[in-house]
């Protein structure tokens, strides 16, 4: 079980809740379970969501494991210049 925090706009499509407890072993499973629970999140995942695991931001490594007790923060996937 990991504690996941959603940024403001994303929490609006997740029942208005910013904090969620989810049983997920990696980023892929986290996204799948979030989308099952809140179908409105799916287009956001398609557009891109970054995942901060204990402060380190992952944008593409969906196989990244979510350590038990880690702080998981979902963020917009941003553009760079």
């Amino acid at each position: 079980m990991v504690a996941v925090t959603l940024w403001g706009s994303l929490s609006a499509v997740a029942g208005g809740k910013a904090k969620h407890e989810i049983e997920a072993k990696d980023i892929r499973e986290l996204f799948r379970k979030l989308a099952e629970q809140y179908p409105g999140i799916e287009p956001w995942i398609d557009r891109g969501i970054a995942v901060a695991i204990d402060g380190v931001i992952y944008r593409d490594t969906w196989g990244k494991e979510l350590p038990e007790g880690a702080e998981i923060f979902l963020l917009p996937r941003l553009a760079g210049g």
């Binding site: 403001g8 706009s9 402060g55 944008r59 593409d60 490594t61 963020l75 917009p76 760079g80 210049g81």
Partner: protein, 754 residues
């Protein structure tokens, strides 16, 4: 990814040295081939017809006269670029921006294009195209566009991110919010509160090389594109999707690049050139003029930002909030969102809230510009921080040190920081001789901090060892700042050979797996990781070949300083085999020796910088002169320190132009008034002092050598550092960028009039 990216704390032989760049001679002798330097047999000249209106319905386009002109081989409109985007809104916007479909949405929006046998005939043909417009009311100012009564740019846009879906469409496409704690409580605890509104005008990246490409589409469905870009793999994906081509049949080669800074991460002319070539059956070269680059490529946002920060008497910030409105051009974007995330990222805040609004305007589609959106937010926040320090009677650096984020701080955008460099940059600035240098009359000193995320991404690299023992390294990230030299250093380091024996190239899209663009400060970070991985894979093969040559088990072979070593006393009579020795025998030990790597280089790590600036202001004319400028930034590990310094200096130079002179000026008719370097003034050498740099090296734990991206952060602090310097010089808080002479005079006059 079977690769351990963790920092190993090793000592370096090649990395950290300063060899001459391999592309340098070609660039200074004119041999280097940029976008417009490539030609194909039978090539035509492409030209684009652009809307003179800021906002207009395209009722009809008659191309018949142009098509009949001798020498014209193709004329296209949006009909020749049918919508194949399959509901992908972002791709549809790119398509519509490449060629307007129903409405022209800004002055310069492409509405038709021709391919002719020469430029004169192409220009004549453009004049023969008749476009029937119904001109609509327009809006170019970000604050006006956000008003309820503003002309609507897209009546299908309803503001996202609100608790309830609004009943009416709006130019505000999205609201985003970040933060934590309770700002009301925080402000109640404050002894001092500073509240200010700021504006920044739209600027262009100002790359010297205009957009240029040569496209050739063959009847069998194969196609080639030679193009100046920051990401040829992404251009391939986008062009293939927009034109209905198979990606594997579209070979894209990136030219040398005369500057991009985020502006060459999007396609504009390329789908048009491909569509022209497809219709004409001949290659087409399309080169934008400078006027077109300004009017119809992707400048950064204009912004309007409100900031409020409160602190206790002891200098502890108790609350901070900001509302940020960023212009997006006529298509949805996420520019204010980035501003809202970065605004307060330098600070340790218990109570913080930022709200961003994305605003449509009748200007070109906003594109990324080096740490996109962060410089404007930093200008507003760092100006307010300086003002608050003054109110508190504290030194500006000490106030920032007291409130700086550190390892374990919850960032204003959400997560908790790992090891970060904001504190060390501030301590370095505090000790820097620049801070103690005397100032003369009418001179002021300012400093400011900046933050940027940095990104990694998909990366693929090939390393091939020739039979003469030299190494060719093929990477897929475009070299915008010397990365071929840096990556050669990394390959030399890992293999244990001399830098001069490695030659790096940027491979085309048919030669290498997919690579993300060179953006997000990722070029050297990502491709160095892939190069290390590829080199390690090659070393496995080198060890195997050495084992064959010695006829011993491969388990008994190690790799040290460019040589295979037979381990153990029983092999005491076996001399080490160099990479060159092993390569020479490769034909009989199994064939070519190569290392390949494909990986996702995540974990780039955030980046901080602090800048110091001295400015002299002429109080009679408002003219400014930068007297001295110092950049202090964390590089993780500087692979090639000269190029790291170059990035620091380049970001500062661009920031100086943005802060003091550069701006898009629109007339009441919605047309851009200064689409050229005579009227849009970027700094030249004589405008700038030598920009001093100090590299800090706080290793990134998620890279084997500790490397962090360095390309973007250096443009984040300058607007604020310069604004603080000007404000200190004239004794008036400057709140509007650029601080051009008329604007400084107006601020002084307003102050005198109270």
């Amino acid at each position: 990814m079977n690769f351990d990216p963790r920092y190993s704390g090793r000592n370096f032989s090649s990395v950290g040295t300063r060899p001459i760049r391999p592309d340098g001679v070609d660039k200074v002798t004119g041999r280097a081939r940029y976008g417009a330097d490539f030609n194909m047999a039978g090539q035509l000249v492409g030209r684009v017809l652009r809307s003179p209106h800021a906002h207009a319905i395209i009722k009809k386009i008659d191309t018949s006269k142009a098509e009949k002109l001798a020498g014209v081989k193709a004329v296209i409109t949006a009909k020749d670029l049918p919508d194949l985007t399959d509901g992908d809104a972002a791709m549809y916007d790119i398509l519509d921006n490449s060629m307007a479909r129903k409405k022209a949405l800004y002055d310069g929006h492409a509405v038709a294009a021709v391919a002719a046998i020469d430029a004169r005939i192409a220009r004549q043909a453009l004049k023969l195209i008749e476009v029937d417009y119904e001109v609509l009311p327009h809006v170019t100012d970000v604050d006006e566009a956000a008003q309820h009564h503003a002309p609507l740019i897209n009546d299908q846009v309803f503001t996202e991110g609100l608790e309830e879906k609004p009943a009416k469409p709006s130019n505000v496409t999205k609201r985003t919010q970040f933060g934590h704690g309770d700002v009301h409580k925080g402000f109640a605890e404050a002894d001092f509160v500073v509240e200010r509104s700021f504006k920044t005008e739209q600027t262009h990246q100002g790359y010297i090389e205009p957009h240029a490409c040569v496209a050739s589409v063959n009847p069998d469905g194969t196609a080639e594109l030679w193009v100046c870009t920051q990401g040829h793999f992404v251009y391939r994906q986008h062009c293939a999707q927009l034109l209905g081509l198979e990606a594997s049949k579209l070979r894209v080669t990136s030219s040398e690049i005369g500057g991009g800074f985020g502006g060459k991460t999007h396609v504009w002319a390329e789908p048009v050139a491909l569509a022209l070539s497809r219709k004409a059956g001949r290659p087409v070269k399309l080169v934008m003029t400078r006027d077109e680059v300004f009017r119809a490529s992707g400048p950064t946002s204009a912004t309007s930002i409100d900031v409020r920060i409160g602190a206790r008497k002891d200098g502890t910030i108790t609350a901070a909030e900001a509302t940020l409105r960023y212009s997006c051009g006529p298509y949805a974007g996420s520019w204010a969102e980035i501003g809202a995330m970065t605004a307060f990222a330098c600070y340790r805040l218990e109570n913080v809230k930022t709200v961003g609004y994305e605003v449509l305007v009748n200007r070109p589609k906003t594109a990324a510009y080096r740490a996109p959106s962060a410089p404007m937010a930093a200008f507003a926040v760092e100006s307010s921080i300086d003002e608050l320090a003054k109110e508190l009677g504290m030194d500006a650096v000490d106030f920032r040190i007291k409130n700086a984020a550190q390892e374990g701080t919850r960032a204003s955008y959400g997560p908790v920081y790992g090891p970060i460099g904001i504190g060390p940059t501030l301590e370095a600035v505090k000790k820097h001789p620049h801070m103690k240098a005397p100032l003369k009359a009418n001179q002021g000193r300012g400093m400011a901090c900046g933050f940027w995320f940095n990104f990694g991404g998909q990366t693929c690299t090939d390393l091939n060892i020739g039979m003469d023992g030299t190494v060719s390294l093929a990477v897929g990230t475009v070299d915008v700042g010397g990365s071929r030299a840096s990556l050669s250093l990394v390959a030399a380091e890992e293999l244990g050979i001399d830098y001069g024996n490695v030659k790096a190239i940027v491979a085309d899209t048919s030669s290498l797996g997919y690579n993300d663009m060179t953006d997000g400060s990722r070029g050297t970070f990502s491709s160095s990781m892939a190069t290390i991985s590829a080199a390690r894979n090659a070393i496995k093969i080198l060890k195997d070949r050495a084992a064959q040559m010695w006829d011993i088990p491969v388990e008994d072979v190690t790799w040290e300083k460019g040589h295979a070593i037979a381990k153990g006393e029983k092999y005491g009579n076996l001399s080490p085999l160099s990479l060159k020795d092993i390569a020479a025998k490769s034909g009989t030990t199994g064939g070519p020796i190569a290392g390949h790597s494909e990986l996702v280089a995540d974990g780039a790590g955030v980046s901080f910088a602090t800048h110091i600036c001295d400015i002299e202001v002429d109080p009679e004319t408002g003219a400014t002169r930068v007297i001295r400028y110092t950049v202090v930034q964390d590089a993780g590990k500087a692979v090639h320190p000269t190029y790291v310094e170059g990035q620091y200096q380049g970001g500062a130079a661009q920031g100086i132009g943005w802060a003091l002179n550069e701006e898009y000026i629109y007339g009441k008719d919605g047309r851009l008034q200064n689409a050229g370097f005579l009227d849009y003034r970027i700094p030249v050498c004589s405008d700038l002092p030598m920009i001093d740099t100090q590299i800090l090296e706080i290793p990134n734990p998620n890279h084997p050598y500790g490397v962090r991206g360095v390309g973007e952060t250096s443009i984040v602090p300058p607007l604020a550092a310069i604004a603080n310097a000007v404000s200190n010089a004239v004794g008036v808080r400057m709140t509007h960028i650029p601080m051009s002479p008329p604007r400084i005079l107006a601020a002084l006059e307003a102050e005198r009039e109270g």
